[in-house]
C-alpha cells in the first residue's frame, strides 16, 4: 500500500510538468500581451515597456517558465496583475463562498440521486422507471442557464421565497438565506444526469449472481438493495463524486455570477477576461494537483469499500 502511494505521488511530477508547460505556452500563445490591457487609453511605447518590465513579461520565455516553476514550489503565485491582490488572498477569501454552495450541493444531489436511482432500478421496466428516465433525458437536455433564469425568476422574483441574489457576512446567513436557491438550482440540474448514471450502476449489480443468492437465502429486499447492491454500486458512484471534487476549487461560475456569490468561479472568469496570468496559473495548478490527489484518494477508498480490490 505504502509503495503504491509513493509510486502514485511520484507520478504527480511529470503530470504536473505537462500541465505547467501547457498552461505556460497556451497563455503566451493566446493570452495576448497584458501590458496593452493595463496601459490605459493613450499608450506610449515607453509606458508599455515599463509595464512589461514590471510584470516580468519582457524576460525570455525560459526565465518566465523558471519563475513559474519556483512559484509552484513555493506555493506563492505573486499578485494579480489586474488588482494587485495576492493570489493566495484571492483563494483564501473566495474558496469559502464557493464551498458554502458547492459542498452542500454535492452532498444533497449525491444522496438524492442515489436514493432515486436505487428506487427506479428496483422497478426497472415499469411505467415509473420509464417516466423518470424520459424526464431525466429531457431535464438533462436543458441548459443550466435556463434553470437559473427560470428558477430565479419564479422562486425569487415572483414568489419571493428567496432573495434574487446576494451574499452576507456570516456563514449561517450565507448558507440558509443566500445559498438556498443556488443549491436548489444546482441540485435540480445535477439530478437528471446523476440518476441516469447511478441507475445504470445499480442495474449492473441487481442482475449479479450474489443478489440472487442473497434473495434465495431469504434476505429482505431492503437488506439486499440497501446493503449488498448499494455497497457494490458505490464504487463507480464514488469515482463519479471524486471526479467532481476538484471542480469545487474552480467553483461554479454561472451560479456564482447569477446569484452574486463572491466565489472562486467568478474570480476565474474575471482572470480570463483580464488576462490575469498569475490567477490563471494558480487555479490551473491547484486544480491539477487536486485532481491527482483525489484520484489517488478514490483508489484508496475503493479498497476500503471492497477489500478484494488490489492496489498494484
Amino acid at each position: 500500500m505504502t509503495a503504491y502511494v509513493v509510486r502514485r505521488v511520484w507520478q504527480f511530477f511529470p503530470t504536473l510538468g505537462g500541465v505547467v508547460l501547457l498552461v505556460f505556452f497556451l497563455f503566451n500563445w493566446v493570452g495576448g500581451d497584458p501590458a496593452y490591457l493595463l496601459v490605459g487609453k493613450i499608450p506610449s511605447p515607453e509606458r508599455i515597456e515599463e509595464i512589461r518590465r514590471g510584470l516580468g513579461v519582457d524576460q525570455p520565455y525560459v526565465v518566465q517558465l523558471w519563475i513559474f516553476v519556483k512559484q509552484i514550489a513555493s506555493a506563492d503565485f505573486g499578485a494579480s496583475w489586474a488588482t494587485n491582490e495576492r493570489v493566495s488572498h484571492i483563494f483564501a477569501t473566495r474558496l469559502g463562498p464557493s464551498l458554502t454552495v458547492l459542498l452542500p450541493l454535492l452532498v444533497v444531489s449525491t444522496a438524492l440521486s442515489m436514493v432515486a436511482a436505487m428506487l427506479v432500478a428496483y422497478v426497472r421496466g415499469s411505467l415509473t422507471d420509464r417516466a423518470i428516465m424520459v424526464g431525466c433525458t429531457v431535464g438533462q437536455s436543458i441548459s443550466i442557464l435556463v434553470y437559473i433564469l427560470a428558477l430565479q425568476y419564479l422562486l425569487a422574483y415572483r414568489l419571493g421565497w428567496f432573495p434574487v441574489q446576494g451574499w452576507g457576512s456570516t456563514l449561517g446567513e450565507n448558507l440558509w438565506r443566500y445559498s438556498a436557491l443556488p443549491i436548489l438550482v444546482g441540485v435540480i440540474v445535477s439530478l437528471a444526469p446523476d440518476i441516469r448514471l447511478y441507475r445504470s450502476f445499480f442495474l449492473d449489480e441487481i442482475n449479479q449472481d450474489y443478489v440472487r443468492t442473497a434473495r434465495a437465502k431469504g434476505l429482505g429486499e431492503g437488506r439486499v438493495m440497501g446493503i449488498h447492491v448499494l455497497r457494490n454500486a458505490a464504487i463507480p458512484i464514488v469515482t463519479n463524486v471524486m471526479i467532481q471534487l476538484p471542480g469545487l476549487l474552480a467553483g461554479a461560475f454561472l451560479i456564482e455570477r447569477f446569484f452574486s456569490i463572491p466565489g472562486i468561479g467568478r474570480e476565474v472568469i474575471l482572470a480570463v477576461e483580464r488576462s490575469d496570468f498569475p490567477v490563471i496559473k494558480a487555479v490551473t495548478v491547484y486544480v491539477a494537483v487536486a485532481t491527482m490527489a483525489v484520484n489517488l484518494a478514490a483508489d484508496l477508498i475503493y479498497r476500503t469499500l471492497d477489500p478484494r480490490v488490489r492496489l498494484d
Binding site: 495576448g32 490591457l37 515599463e50 494587485n84 491582490e85 430565479q152 441574489q165 456569490i261 463572491p262 488576462s275
Partner: protein, 548 residues
C-alpha cells in the same frame, strides 16, 4: 448660556447631518479592481474613488455643459501670463477620514498631499493608466503649507480639467506607505464617504464620512444619505429582478433590456411610470467611430484604403456611405444610441447640436463614386483596384458575440458596393498593439470623455498622436495647424469655428465615419431624490436623498 447655545448648535448640525438610516443600494455590472486612484482605469473603481477622495477642482453638479468649480481649493487657480504656471490654495481645516494609520490624530489636508498624489501618476513604479493626463507637468511645488504651484512644460488651457479629474484626489502619504500593497483596499481620503466594508468583487459598503467638511446644498448638509451599499452583479437578469423587487434603489446598466421598460420614443412604459419609477435618460459623453488607416502602406504592403489620392479617398467615402449607422443603432444598439454627427459629443464643451455630417448613407451614390474612380466589378460581383489588382478590405474585431454582429453589418454594407471584406479576428490586447503600430486597416473605436472639453476628442485626429490615441494614424497638415491653434483658445465661438473646420477636414479626407453616442438610462425608485446624470462625475450619491 454659552454651553446651551453650543448644545443647540450641535443639535442643529446633528439634525442636518447624514441620516444613517438612509442607505442607497445599487449595483455594478463588473467587478472593481481596487481603490488606489493612480492605479485604476475602470469605471467602477473610479466611481467609488470619486466618493472617497477629493480633487482640488470639481464640477458643478447641475450645470450643463459641465462647469468647473473649486473642490478642496479655496478658489479657481491663478494662471500666469504665459499660461504655464497654476497656483492654487488648499482650503484650511479639511481633514482626512479618521483611520488607524493616523494613530488617533486628526490629519489635515495640505498642499503637499496633492503634490505627492499627482506625482504618483508620473512615477513609473505606479504604472498608472492615466499617466498621459499629467505628462505636461514639469514641477509640483509647495511654497507654503496650503499653496500648490504647478509648472507646466507647455501652456494648456485645459489643465484645470486635469486638476478636476475625479482620480486626482489627495492621498495621505503615510496611509499609502502604511498600507503598502493593501492600499487598493484601504482608501483614506477627505471625501464625503469612507469605506466601511469591502468584499472584493462582491460588496462595497460606504458610510458617510462624519468628518467631512461642511458643504451645504439646497439648504442641507452633504451628504444627505448615511451610506451606499454596492453589490457586484454581472448578470442583467439579476440586476433587473433585484431592482424590481426593491432590493436596489437605482439601476443604470440595463441597455440590453431597455425595451422591457421603455417605449420606442424613450419614455418609461406606463406600468412602471404608474409605480412611480423614475427614468433619467442622458447621452454619454462619448463617440463611437469607424476609422480607416490613412497610411499608404501597412507593414510594407499597400493599404487599399490608405493615402490621400482622390481614388483612395473615394474608396473610403464609398465604404462610409454604404454603412447604415441608423441600422446599427436600431438593430445592434436596440435604439439606445443617437447618431453622432460631430466629433464632440453632447455635454462636452464645443459640441454643436446643429452640425450635420456631410457623409450620408447612400449605397447608390457610393457605387457611382466607385464606378467613377474605376473600381471595376469583376464576374464575381466584387470590385478590383483602379489598376486592376484585387481589392480586399480588412476589418478587425475581437471574437466576441457583440463584435460578430458588427462584422455582419459591415459585410452587408460592403457587399452592397461590391467590395470584398476580410474579417480579421484577434484578441483585444493584440488589436490594441497592432493599432498602436498603425497596422490595422479598419476598426470600430470608441472614446469617452476624460474631461468634458472638446479638446479631449479633437486630439484623436491630431497627427503627432498617431500610434497613441490617433488610431487612424491620420496626418493632415491642415487639421494639425487648426488643432494647435485651438489649444491656445478658450472655449468659445472662435474655437468652435476651428472645430467645425476640423470636423469637415476629417469628413473630406474620410479618415473616420462617426457612428453613435450611447444613451445612459438610469432607473430610480420613486423615493430617490435629486438625481441628475452628470457627464463626467459618476458618484452622484453625494447629492442624493432618499424620501421613503
Amino acid at each position: 448660556m454659552r454651553a446651551l447655545v453650543l448644545l443647540l448648535v450641535c443639535l442643529a448640525l446633528r439634525a442636518q447631518a447624514a441620516d444613517p438610516a438612509k442607505i442607497l443600494h445599487l449595483t455594478f455590472a463588473a467587478a472593481e479592481t481596487g481603490f488606489d486612484p493612480a492605479r485604476v482605469s475602470d469605471y467602477y473603481s473610479g466611481t467609488v474613488i470619486e466618493a472617497i477622495f477629493e480633487p482640488l477642482l470639481t464640477y458643478d453638479y447641475l450645470a450643463r455643459p459641465a462647469q468647473l468649480v473649486p473642490g478642496t481649493a479655496e478658489a479657481m487657480p491663478a494662471v500666469s501670463a504665459d499660461g504655464r504656471t497654476y497656483t492654487l490654495h488648499v482650503r484650511k481645516g479639511v481633514f482626512f477620514a479618521d483611520d488607524p494609520v493616523f494613530k488617533g490624530k486628526r490629519r489635515e489636508l495640505i498642499a503637499q498631499d496633492y503634490a505627492w498624489s499627482i506625482g504618483r501618476f508620473l512615477d513609473p513604479k505606479t504604472r498608472s493608466p492615466y499617466a498621459f493626463l499629467f505628462e505636461n507637468i514639469a514641477a509640483l511645488e509647495t511654497p507654503e503649507r496650503y499653496a500648490l504651484v504647478v509648472r507646466l512644460k507647455h501652456a494648456d488651457r485645459n489643465f484645470p480639467h486635469v486638476l478636476a479629474f475625479p482620480l486626482a484626489g489627495a492621498l495621505a502619504r503615510e496611509a499609502v506607505e502604511g498600507y503598502g500593497d493593501e492600499t487598493p483596499s484601504h482608501p483614506v481620503g477627505t471625501g464625503p464617504f469612507r469605506l466601511k466594508r469591502y468584499v472584493r468583487s462582491s460588496k462595497i459598503v460606504l458610510e458617510a464620512n462624519p468628518g467631512y467638511r461642511e458643504r451645504i446644498w439646497r439648504g442641507k448638509r452633504l451628504p444627505m444619505i448615511g451610506g451606499v451599499e454596492i453589490s457586484i452583479m454581472e448578470e442583467t437578469q439579476s440586476r433587473w429582478l433585484a431592482f424590481q423587487r426593491g432590493e436596489t434603489d437605482m439601476e443604470y446598466q440595463l441597455a440590453e433590456i431597455a425595451t422591457t421598460f421603455m417605449t420606442d420614443d424613450g419614455k418609461l412604459r406606463p406600468e412602471f411610470a404608474r409605480r412611480g419609477i423614475q427614468l433619467e435618460r442622458s447621452v454619454d459623453p462619448e463617440i463611437t467611430y469607424l476609422y480607416f488607416n490613412t497610411q499608404e502602406k501597412i507593414g510594407g504592403k499597400p493599404n487599399p484604403v490608405g493615402g490621400f489620392a482622390k481614388e483612395k479617398i473615394a474608396l473610403r467615402r464609398a465604404i462610409a456611405m454604404a454603412y447604415d449607422v441608423d441600422d446599427q443603432i436600431r438593430i445592434l444598439r436596440k435604439g439606445q444610441a443617437v447618431r453622432a454627427h460631430f466629433p464632440i459629443p453632447p455635454g462636452v464643451a464645443g459640441h454643436d447640436p446643429d452640425y450635420r455630417t456631410s457623409i450620408p448613407y447612400d449605397p447608390a451614390m457610393a457605387n457611382a463614386l466607385l464606378d467613377r474612380y474605376a473600381y471595376k466589378r469583376g464576374a464575381d460581383g466584387f470590385r478590383s483596384m483602379p489598376d486592376g489588382s484585387p481589392l480586399t478590405v480588412r476589418y478587425s474585431s475581437t471574437p466576441s458575440e457583440r463584435d460578430r454582429q458588427f462584422d455582419e453589418l459591415m459585410k452587408r454594407s460592403l457587399d452592397s458596393i461590391g467590395v470584398r471584406l476580410e474579417i480579421h479576428k484577434d484578441r483585444f490586447p493584440e488589436l490594441i498593439k497592432l493599432e498602436n503600430e498603425c497596422r490595422l486597416m479598419m476598426r470600430g473605436a470608441a472614446w469617452i470623455a476624460d474631461y468634458p472639453d472638446g479638446d479631449n476628442f479633437m486630439q484623436l485626429a491630431y497627427g503627432p498622436n498617431s500610434g497613441q490615441s490617433n488610431n487612424a494614424c491620420y496626418r493632415s497638415a491642415e487639421y494639425d495647424r487648426r488643432y494647435e491653434s485651438s489649444r491656445r483658445l478658450p472655449d468659445g465661438p472662435q474655437r468652435n469655428r476651428l472645430y467645425h473646420e476640423m470636423a469637415r477636414i476629417i469628413e473630406t479626407d474620410t479618415a473616420w465615419l462617426l457612428l453613435d453616442s450611447r444613451y445612459r438610462n438610469v432607473l430610480l425608485q420613486p423615493y430617490v431624490r435629486n438625481f441628475k446624470k452628470h457627464p463626467v462625475l459618476h458618484a452622484e450619491w453625494l447629492y442624493l436623498d432618499l424620501d421613503r
